[in-house]
Amino acid sequence: MPLSGNADEFAAQVKQVQITLQGESYIMSAEFVYQLSEKAKEAMKNGVPLFWDIQVKLLQHREVFWDKTLIDTAIRYRIQYHALLNMYRVRNEGDGEVYNFSTLSSALGLMSAIHDFPLIEKNELVPEKNYQCAVKVSFDREALPLPLRPIAYIDPQWYLSSDWTLWPLKK
């Protein structure tokens, strides 16, 4: 069992998140890095589709209580290998867009960035309050075929999700 590496060895990372004000609304751009383990690659090569969610939350900081969640949304990607054409197909589950790539890295490249993601209208924010944007790339184990699921919870090779990262919203 490749338990030698630490649990984050194959975890995705949130590299960079930028929130800018364009006109009257805040938009977000982000970069991610995926580090697929051998087992994940092998499963994909054998036709198992993998699902990732890029989760985005907008939190309003509160002193007493826990932070209030203003926005909780996700972009869901499905990546699958097609043996006939020897290509990787990435599908955005939200809008149904399908992208085909001849290599895995270019397929992951699509999932590695989001551009101009509209976050919130400026007038919805209270100027005195502090806001933070929480971003996470999470691998959906529950979407794996049933026999793989228990293993995915045990084997670090299937710990592909990143942690939550917090990015301040500068006004």
């Binding site: 054998n46 043996a83 006939l84 399908v98 001849s102 184990r141 049933l146 793989l148 699921r149 228990p150």
Partner: protein, 718 residues
């Protein structure tokens, strides 16, 4: 009989739990079916079942721990529970493990049998065939496109747009586009006039294109449609690229799709084969584990219920063994064990009743015994009982009072053993022992002996005791100190004698005396001198003897009349001092007086007490023949919780002979040549009339010693 209640060994909550376990397992089993709605909940179900197993494991563990503790403490029923649980676990475990083992075998073999090399090969071949077919089509389209470029080579940029339109229609392509080397669109034609922007090759294609000068690939346009993209270099002044998109016929695309779907599915299944085995094994193990643990737990509960009455019985038996007969056990069930418990309750109840009766009888006997003992203790007569070996069994208080021996301390010993410790009582004890040994019937005997308080006389009466079978089991001796009684009888007799003497003898004495004097007076001058002298001597003798008889009769009346006439408190040392003063002038006699400090008072008639002292001192003086030492001492002593003043008087004369000691206080007993023999008798009478006692101190070896004890005056009265 109480109405029978049918109780299930396992209660409702346990049944519900079993139901839940079965439901959970069933759900998990259903979830493993891919198509099932529950598939999404598979992980949760697995977790719930695992947690359930852990909970059951904890329950079973707690039960086992508790059982071990109980067994260590050797609690009632714990060993039986251990045996039953072990038996159940072994019986349940063995078939379950066998079924589990073979299920695993079948499972693995079953899964493996789905896959084999032929199908593997066929699947790969089918995919390869599809790929080959598409490949051929691609190459054909590439060649076709290359041929088309020749027509474009010489065309000017203006004409190209028209030419492309023609070429596209000619070739059957759905879209045709001419790019500059930098990727700029020079001309484009599409079967669909609505498409303004042609399909653009991505960077990867450009890279390949620049390397190879041509590119061909099948690409999916939409979900199901396939498109062959062929790009070739157009040899012109400035190299250009012609991209042509050819639609793959729907039928071929469908077939290829179908082949790919089947291949992917098969490959996925093949890939997941081991995971599938693992997950089925996991589910199976979980099912086995849960059902086994649940069964063991249920076994614990039901065995506990079965053992409960046995446990109670064991506890009850232990309680009865330690003497608690009031133990009543609850009857839990109306089965054989219930019957046993009922019988046990009956038994203990009867034992308790019998015990109570025995106890009551014992208390009755004890009360009787205490009653008898009280009576015995308060008897004035001494009572000593003996066993068959003539050893002392019991003795009462009066025995101590009479013998001055704590006879109670000699229980289990014979009277002869007492003799060793109390030699002064040797005579009566030996007599009683002898009588005990000899007598077969009731006997009675007077035994006289010299005790510490002088001569004592006992009236003993012995009765042998026989058992109901007629065997001799011992004897009881009752004895009474009759010394005082006999003395009183003697005194009364002497008093009577004295009274009669005074009355019968004294009266004729005066006429005798007068008659003799008259004879002398009338006949003296008528007789010759010789006869007259004889008459003179005879009448003188008569008168002298009459006077002596009168004196004797006076002494007797003195002895007969009561001495305690007027009682006052007497300061004894002073009285003794006064009496001694009268004898102080006697030469040759030395008096030594010793008085204890403090008040030494008695209540009595001073004249009588003075007479006592005179009589005793006179006796002593006569004994020492007016030369010697007379000691007199006064002490306070305590006897039977009463204070006495002891007067001890010793001389250093010849002493009293042993044979006289017993009767020296009797009237007419004397060692002297002259004297009436009433002196000591009067002393004894006076002392006894004052509630005291006098005896001869036999322990003194030189001279004679008299000890008088008189009751002291109460200090409260003083």
């Amino acid at each position: 009989m109480a109405p029978e209640k049918i109780k299930f060994p396992i209660n409702l909550s346990v049944l519900i739990l079993f139901g839940l376990i079965l439901l959970s397992l069933q759900l998990m089993s259903s979830a493993t079916q891919e198509s099932s709605q529950l598939s999404a909940m598979y992980s949760w179900l697995l977790l719930v079942n695992a947690l359930g197993s852990v909970v059951l494991l904890i329950l079973v563990g707690a039960n086992i721990y508790s059982l071990i503790q109980h067994t260590k403490r050797r609690e009632a029923g714990s060993r039986l529970t251990t045996r039953m649980v072990s038996l159940f676990v072994v019986l349940a475990l063995a078939p379950a493990v066998i079924v589990f083992y073979f299920s695993m075998q079948f499972l693995h073999q079953g899964i493996d049998s789905w896959f084999n090399v032929e199908i593997d090969r066929a699947m790969e071949d089918a995919l390869e065939l599809s790929q080959a077919s598409l490949d051929q089509r691609m190459r054909w389209h590439l060649k076709q496109t290359q041929q088309l470029t020749e027509k474009l080579e010489d065309s000017s940029e203006n004409l190209v747009t028209l030419e492309i339109e023609n070429l596209r229609e000619l070739s059957g392509a759905s879209e045709m586009t001419l790019f500059s080397r930098q990727g700029r669109i020079i001309a484009s034609s599409s079967i669909n006039p609505g498409d303004i922007l042609p399909s653009l090759p991505d960077e990867h294609i450009w890279l390949q294109l620049r390397q190879n000068g041509e590119f061909v690939a099948v690409a999916p346009i939409h979900e199901e449609e396939l498109m062959i993209r062929a790009i070739v270099t157009v040899k012109a002044l400035e190299p250009q690229y012609l991209q042509a998109l050819y639609p793959v016929p729907v039928r071929i695309a469908d077939l290829a799709d179908s082949v790919e779907f089947a291949f992917v599915r098969y490959q996925e299944m093949n890939y997941l084969r081991n995971s599938l085995k693992v997950s089925f094994s996991l589910a199976l193990s979980l099912v086995l584990l849960m059902s086994l643990l649940a069964a063991i737990w249920a076994a614990f509960i039901s065995i506990r219920n079965i053992i409960a009455p046995v446990k109670e019985l064991v506890k009850g038996t232990q309680a009865v063994a330690s003497g608690h007969y009031d133990q009543q056990l609850p009857v839990i069930a109306q089965d054989d064990l219930g019957f046993l418990v009922e019988s046990f309750n009956d038994m203990t109840h009867r034992i308790a009743v019998a015990r109570d009766e025995t106890r009551k009888a014992g208390v009755e006997v004890e009360n009787q015994r205490a009653y008898l003992e009280t009576i015995l203790a308060n008897l004035t007569a001494g009572v000593i009982s003996f066993d068959v070996f003539n050893k002392i069994r019991t003795a009462n208080q009066a025995a101590y009072r009479i013998f001055h021996i704590h006879v109670n301390q000699f229980i289990g010993r014979t009277l002869l053993e007492l003799v060793e410790n109390y030699s002064e009582l040797a005579e009566p004890l030996k007599s009683i022992q002898r009588l005990l040994e000899q007598a077969d019937d009731i006997w009675q005997q007077r035994i006289a002996f010299l005790g510490s308080n002088g001569r004592q006389e006992l009236l003993c009466r012995g009765t042998p005791l026989f058992s109901q079978e007629g065997l001799r089991v011992g004897a009881v001796v009752v004895f009474d100190d009759v010394t005082d009684l006999i003395q009183a009888q003697k005194n009364a007799a002497w008093s009577e004698v004295a009274r009669r003497l005074a009355h019968e003898i004294k009266n004729p004495l005066t006429p005798i005396q007068l008659s003799a004097e008259r004879l002398q007076h009338k006949l003296a001058y008528k007789l010759d001198p010789t006869d007259a002298d004889m008459l003179q001597r005879s009448t003188q003798t008569i008168v002298q003897q009459v006077l002596a008889m009168k004196e004797m009769v006076d002494d007797f009346s003195e002895y007969a009349k009561p001495s305690k006439k007027q009682t006052v408190d007497i300061d004894l040392p002073r009285l003794v001092q006064e009496v001694l003063a009268l004898y102080a002038l006697k030469s040759g006699v030395k008096f030594k007086a010793d008085y204890e400090t403090g008040l030494l008072m008695i209540n009595g008639d001073p004249v009588s007490i003075r007479q006592v002292l005179h009589n005793l001192i006179k006796n002593a003086l006569e004994a020492i023949d007016a030369h010697g030492l007379i000691e007199i001492s006064l002490h306070r002593v305590q006897k039977n919780n009463t204070d006495f003043i002891e007067i001890a008087l010793y001389d250093d004369g010849p002493g009293i002979k042993d044979e006289q000691i017993e009767e020296i206080f009797e009237p007419y007993v004397t060692t002297k040549a002259k004297g009436t023999g009433l002196g000591l008798a009067i002393v004894k009478k006076i002392i006894e009339e004052h509630g005291g006692a006098i005896w001869i101190d036999t322990s003194r070896k030189v001279g004679a010693g008299f000890i008088i004890q008189l009751p002291a005056c109460n200090s409260e009265q003083l």
